[in-house]
């Protein structure tokens, strides 16, 4: 996988993440609204539950007193009042239960310490409710009023009629704080927010101090509460913090109270935040999985790709190599073909030239009136060319033997010094004729080597002939021998034209001639030299700097 596609995948990932975040932001408003509504509903449920509990509790208390008043209406007052203690203790919630006789005087109360025994309503001029209850025979509940002992209390007036006879009134007092402690205070335990209670006149029954500070939007809520409605609304305090208000009515006979729950809107946000927190953790995990996964995939693909690329590269390299080898082989074949035709041409020339010389000479000899000098010349030509022809045939046979591995070496212990001197003598005349100096450097006590002296001599003569042939008049030819570890190194150097570096390797190939057909020769000499030296287990190579001369190096085992 290339760099571009990796970048593309990363970009796609980033775009996906951004899209998710944008969608999340867009839905945030809706979510918040929904959560807010739900939260409001929840607060309303709380308020409603508290309100109904209060109604039930209070109505139950009224019913108990009414049952007592009806059941015991014919009983003596003592029988009635005897039940007060039982009711007080069994049915908790009463502050006190008192009995007011028909003339408006408190005659009994339980607990006694809370009862103003002997309190005369008429004397205190507070007989209006007493008289109303007495006259219509209906239970009456008063708005909460402040008790002597402090705190608000609700007074429940239940008349006792035995037939037509009015016997008195049972007055039960329930403290508002009893109700609020029991049903309202626990509502907000461990929660942020407030709860309050009021009656339909706007009198605060619980947590009234809450409204000592100003609230925006409070008036509308208050009027709803006063008219016994239930619902939710919002208001804000002086610091502009928004609150959700949920309220529900408490119906206690003709009394109408209302319970309100007040929670800051920030609760909604914190709720949403906590939900978001969960979501973010989930989203984060998803993103991590997606990026990690795609990263892993990218890594996997890129590794796979790299491996593929490497394989393709290797295969391509193989192909290229094979191709190169084929091209090289083809070139070599062409070269070989060219060499072969050059060889045929050369052999034909080399064989025919001496024959032509011999034939012409012989025909000259056949002619009449030939001088003695010419006769001798012609004979010399014939003899020279027989030698030349012989050498060529010998070379060709040598080469053929070398190539087929049939070269026979007549090996014995021979002195390399003797062979060199012999070879030098062979070419001395020719060298001197060209004004060349021959320097021979032989170490003393040169140990003998094991080889075919005739063949080694042939090699040396060939190399020396070449050196003479390619070195200009007045040059120098050197022969230097030195002993190495178990080997003898022989260097034949000249100050001739030299050999181009690219041809150094090839001069030992058969038929190869430096500079093509420019210089005359069979192209067999060095190939034969190499064959002979290698048959001896030695090595031969050439070193040269064009224009400065060449050195042929032979290394033979002792």
């Amino acid at each position: 996988m290339n760099r571009d596609s990796r970048v593309a995948i990363l970009v796609i990932c980033v775009v996906l993440i951004v899209m998710v975040i944008l969608l999340g932001l867009r839905s945030h408003g809706e979510v918040r609204e929904t959560v807010r509504t739900q939260y409001g509903e929840q607060q309303l449920m709380l308020a409603r539950q508290a309100a109904s509990s209060i109604s039930e509790f209070a109505n139950e208390r009224v019913t108990i007193i009414e049952i007592l008043a009806r059941d015991r209406s014919g009983d003596p007052v003592d029988n009635i009042t005897r039940c007060f203690q039982t009711i007080y203790t069994k049915s908790e919630g009463f502050y006190s239960i008192e009995y007011i006789n028909a003339s408006g005087v408190v005659v009994y109360g339980y607990p006694e310490e809370r009862a103003p025994i002997g309190y005369d309503l008429y004397a205190e001029n507070r007989s209006d409710i007493f008289e109303a209850v007495r006259d219509d025979g209906e239970t009456r509940i008063c708005r909460p009023t402040y008790l002597f002992e402090g705190g608000l209390g609700s007074f429940i007036w239940v008349p006792v009629h035995d037939g037509e006879e009015f016997r008195g009134v049972i007055l039960a007092i329930i403290r508002v704080s009893t109700i609020s402690d029991k049903f309202i205070a626990p509502l907000m335990a461990n929660r942020t927010g407030y709860v309050y209670m009021m009656d339909n006149h706007g009198q605060m029954l619980y947590n009234g101090e809450l409204f000592e500070r100003p609230w925006n939007g409070w008036t509308a809520i208050q009027s709803d509460q006063a008219s016994g409605k239930e619902g939710t609304a919002t208001c804000s305090d002086a610091t502009n913090e928004e609150y959700i208000v949920a309220y529900a009515p408490v119906r206690w006979r003709d009394q109408l109270w209302s319970v309100g729950v007040l929670v800051p809107e920030s609760e909604v946000d914190s709720l949403i935040r906590s939900v978001y927190k969960e979501q973010m953790i989930f989203l984060g995990a998803v993103i991590a999985i997606i990026t990690g996964g795609s990263g892993g995939l990218i890594l996997m693909f890129s590794r796979w790709n790299k491996r593929l690329e490497a394989e393709v590269k290797a295969k391509t390299c193989d192909l290229v190599r094979t191709n190169e080898e084929l091209t090289r082989a083809n070139k070599q074949l062409k070269e070989l073909d060219k060499l072969k035709s050059e060889f045929v041409s050369m052999v034909s020339h080399e064989l025919k030239t001496p024959l032509a010389a011999m034939k012409t000479s012989a025909q000259v000899l056949q002619g009449d009136g030939i001088g003695g000098e010419t006769r001798q010349e012609m004979l010399n030509v014939i003899l020279r060319n027989i030698d030349r022809q012989t050498k060529l045939v010998t070379d060709l046979l040598d080469l053929s033997r070398i190539e087929s591995g049939r070269m026979k070496l007549d090996k014995e212990k021979v002195s390399l010094g003797d062979i060199i001197e012999d070879a030098v003598e062979n070419v001395r005349q020719e060298a001197e004729g060209k004004g060349l100096r021959l320097d021979i450097d032989l170490p003393e006590g040169l140990s003998p080597i094991y080889g075919d002296s005739g063949k080694l001599r042939q090699v040396l003569i060939n190399l020396l002939d070449n050196a003479i042939k390619f070195t200009a008049y007045g040059g120098r030819i050197g022969i230097k021998v030195r002993e190495l570890n178990g080997q003898v190194e022989l260097r034949i150097s000249d100050t001739g034209v030299g050999i181009p570096a690219e041809e150094l390797e090839r001069i030992f190939d058969k038929f190869y001639q430096v500079g093509g057909a420019q210089t005359r020769g069979t192209g067999l000499g060095l190939a034969i030299c190499k064959g002979i030296i290698e048959a001896h287990g030695g090595r031969i190579w050439a070193e040269s700097r064009p224009g400065e001369g060449s050195t042929f190096v032979i290394v033979l085992n002792k």
């Binding site: 034909s348 025919k352 024959l355 025909q363 030939i370």
Partner: protein, 172 residues
């Protein structure tokens, strides 16, 4: 045989001056050449034999042929490579060239081509004398303007006849 001599401008001047009985020194001075060069020119002018130039790098091929032609009373001169051949043709003005093909430097084909392209030398007959016996070589040689093509080894008698035939054919 005099009419067979090929004369250049200087040769004509030399003859003219000689006819006026000028001395060698006077002629050399007048033509701006050395006295030895003048002498060699006069020697050449006085040699009335047919002049044959043999071009071959093999001395052993050249020598027997030279001797054989000398026996036939040809004036034989020799060149060992292509450049020397062109030089000799220019200075010696031979009547016939026997040209080997495999020469060091400029080969026989090129020598032939140059001779035949030059107006001064194109009339000189050329016999190619070579060990190259393949038909394409012969065709090429003849296309380049060679007058005959003889392959080595040749028969001496045959070569002599061919030389005569070519000379007869190309005689002015």
């Amino acid at each position: 045989m005099t009419e067979k001599l090929k004369l250049d401008e200087q040769d004509r001047k030399i003859l003219e001056l000689l006819n006026r009985d000028a001395t060698y020194s006077e002629i050399a001075e007048q033509l701006g050449i050395t006295k030895s060069e003048l002498e060699s020119r006069i020697r050449r002018l006085s040699d009335t034999r047919i002049k044959v130039l043999i071009v071959d790098d093999e001395p052993d091929t050249l020598l027997p042929l030279k001797r054989a032609l000398e026996q036939e009373d040809y004036n034989v001169i020799e060149a060992r490579d292509g450049l020397e051949a062109l030089e000799k043709v220019r200075t010696e003005i031979p009547d016939l060239v026997l040209l080997d093909l495999m020469l060091p430097g400029i080969n026989g084909f090129e020598v032939c081509q140059r001779l035949k392209q030059d107006e001064m030398t194109s009339y000189i007959p050329v016999i190619m004398l070579t060990a190259k016996s393949e038909v394409p070589d012969k065709v090429k040689g003849l296309e380049l303007g060679a007058d005959d093509y003889v392959t080595k080894p040749f028969d001496l008698a045959e070569l002599k006849v061919r030389i005569k035939a070519v000379l007869r054919r190309t005689a002015p």
